[in-house]
């Protein structure tokens, strides 16, 4: 078999070798050369054609470029193009910077003119600089810190962690918090629709600072198909103008039930009932020796809003009221109930303009016969989401006989991260 194979290969090689020898070609040689010449001539002709086409193309492009150059030279010289933008300052991915919290600073510049014998507010004052740091802590929590620097120094306005991945639909907040008592108490000063806090808040719910204490807050949605219903329970170690814990066992407690319902696409109603109880911080002028004082606060708030969705950036109406009953009690004797409320409305009549009015009335705790009342008219100009100018005329008739007519004005300006609007 092997031998046969070798013979076959050798035979094949011989045949091929024979085909390639010129001797065997004989008369075919001249014809082949002629053929090759014709092919070469055709190739040269084709190349010449291609070269002509390329030359024509280049001529056309050169002419076009020359025309454009001439046109540019003819037009007047425009301002030099802006320099290329600096290298992107995007945060370096992977660096620790990406985990920095969102930081924002809000300045609240307040001014006052007119007379008010009961107020120490200066003509001009950088009333508050609020710095916020907000970020997600881990898969289970986020943290929000609000540091407030004012004439009285730096303090933690709020600083809390929110645990939003708890079972049972619970939301837990731990830290220093503005207590969920009504509407005004939960709002930061710059988020209010006025330059000041209403009389009822000043007299009965802790003044400008409000009830902002260290504690825990647990809230839960009460599921139903009819409305949004949220119940909140809170416990605080009292250290405010309302509550003051003198022992570990003397905590202040706050409970709130909030009901919200969309009436139509553009209108809604928000109702709340609040209750607070704890050891009193304030004392009556004539105190009973050794008596322990406690304060009970009951509040009711209602807000009606109208905001047409299609024209949401141009029109808005909001009416709100908040009623508070304060009942300070001593061990030896019951206390008088002091009542106060405010009611008012705001209307946005253009993209950047809001106007509103508010009526105030509030008694003093421990002296319910001393009643202050007053009213305000205000106008807000809103250049952008990050700044705001507001003027407010305020007239107050204090229970002690002092009447004040004032014009208050406010400039709010914020820098840094885009804060979400709180509803």
């Amino acid at each position: 078999m092997e031998f046969k194979g070798i013979v076959r290969v050798v035979a094949l090689a011989l045949v091929i070798g024979g085909a390639m020898t010129p001797a065997s070609a004989g008369a075919q040689t001249a014809a082949a050369a002629d053929q090759q010449l014709r092919e070469a001539q055709a190739e040269v002709a084709r190349l010449k054609q291609e070269l002509d086409a390329i030359r024509a193309q280049y001529d056309a492009r050169l002419t076009a470029l020359e025309q454009r150059l001439a046109a540019i030279a003819a037009t007047p010289v425009e301002a030099a193009p802006p320099p290329p933008p600096a290298a992107p300052s995007a945060p370096a991915a992977g660096s620790s910077k990406v985990f920095n919290p969102d930081i924002a600073v809000i300045g609240n510049f307040l001014g006052a003119t007119g007379k008010n014998a009961n107020s120490t507010q200066p003509t001009f004052g950088l009333n508050e600089v609020e710095t916020s740091f907000q970020a997600i802590v881990d898969p289970y929590a986020r943290a929000d810190f609000f540091l407030s620097a004012g004439p009285e120094g730096l303090e933690v306005e709020e600083g809390f962690a929110t645990f939003n991945a708890l079972p049972g639909g619970l939301l837990l907040k731990v830290g220093k918090l503005r207590a969920q008592f009504g509407k005004v108490n939960t709002a930061h000063t710059h988020a209010l629709p006025w330059t000041d806090r209403p009389l009822v808040t000043r007299n009965l719910v802790g003044g400008d600072e409000g009830i902002s204490e260290s504690g825990v807050s647990v809230s839960r949605l009460l599921n139903n198909s009819f409305m949004f219903l949220e119940a909140t329970g809170e416990a605080y170690y009292g250290a405010s103008a309302v509550f003051n814990s003198t022992a570990r066992s003397k905590l202040a407690y706050v409970g709130r039930l909030r009901a919200y319902r969309d009436l139509t696409e553009g209108t809604n109603l928000d109702l709340g009932g609040s209750f607070a109880y704890g050891p009193s911080a304030a004392q009556p002028e004539v105190s009973i020796p050794e008596a322990a004082y406690s304060t009970r606060l009951i509040g009711f708030d209602a807000t009606f809003r109208y905001r047409p969705l299609r024209r949401a950036i141009y029109r808005r109406f909001q009416a709100r009221t908040e009623l508070v009953w304060s009942q300070p009690r001593s061990d030896g004797a019951g206390g008088e109930t002091a009542f106060g409320f405010y009611g008012g409305a705001d209307y946005q009549f253009a993209r950047r303009w809001y106007a509103g009015g508010r009526y105030d009335r509030a008694a003093h705790p421990f002296d319910a016969a001393l009643v202050d009342n007053g009213g305000s008219l205000y106008l807000t100009y809103w250049p952008s989401e990050f700044s705001q100018v507001r003027g407010q005329y305020r007239r107050t008739n204090y229970g002690d006989g002092v009447t004040a007519n004032e014009f208050l004005f406010q400039f709010l300006f914020s820098i840094g991260a885009h804060g979400a609007h709180v509803f």
Binding site: P85, A86, A87, P88, S89, I136, P139, R142, T162, N164, A165, L166, G169, L170, L171, R220, L221, N223, F228, E230, R258, Y260, R261, D262, E265, N268, D270, R307, L309, R310, R311, A312, I313, Y314, R351, R352, S384, E385, F386, I415, H418, A420, H421, V422, F423
Partner: protein, 309 residues
Amino acid sequence: MTHIITHVAAALLTLAAANPPAAAPPKVITTTEDLASLVREVGGDKVTVDSLAKGYQDPHFVEPKPSFILKLHDADLLVAIGRELEIGWLPPLLTQSRNAKIQPGNPGYLDASAGARILELPTGQITRAMGDVHPQGNPHYWLDPDNGRTIAKAIAAALGQIAPADRAYFEQRYADFDRRLAEAQKRWAAAMAPYKGTKVVTYHRSWPNFTDRFGLDVIGYVEPKPGIPPSPAHTVDLMSEMKRQQVKVILVEPYFDLKTPEAIARDVGGRVLVLSPSVGGVKTATDYIALFDYNINLLTSTFKQVLGR
């Protein structure tokens, strides 16, 4: 006794295993109607879907109403536009939703912009003096049908993850949508081809993806800067620029006041078109494909009248 209990328990277990309770379809909440429409395309009748913002509402300025918390509370999947479009209202809703599933980083949270072609990514120093700029690029990216396809694909994948039993169904629905969208794209491209390079003005920077895809040239904006309402000086400049370049068409979103755009149009002898940037922005824009049909029909019929071709 123990014996009986064991038997009963075994019987109950068998019953339970034999008749598993019919699982409710996954509940999907989207921030905009466009995303809701794409979820409907892909999810069919195997999901329920609801949008927080309406199509005729400015998606930058949505009120974070407590009723939205209820919707998010029992959602299985949240689909958001991202790129900070919802920065002003979604974060507090998410925190208060008491729903761990839909928090960012979990499978129940889908940022639809991942994978989409994002335009106007700013470079260099960004300041608020530029207006309400979006540092992560222009968030109106859904107005490019190719991005719509990318979003739909991401939705199909996310749905497949939360409802693995229906994965094939979602994939098949996506393939069907992809085919219908490709057909529609041919139609739109043909309709818009004669108007390639046509110069227009828009109110807000809502349309870069749309105008880029369909070959329109935006020469200016009614807003002097993003989010800043028109000023008289800027309006005058815009009118003279439109006259100089013979621009006749102003595109406006349904939630902006028409007074300034109409004054400009009168001055330059042009037309104001209220296009729909979102599904549901006008009644006939009932779904994602109908949205483009509406806008392109309106554009081409107006161009015919105004440009005479």
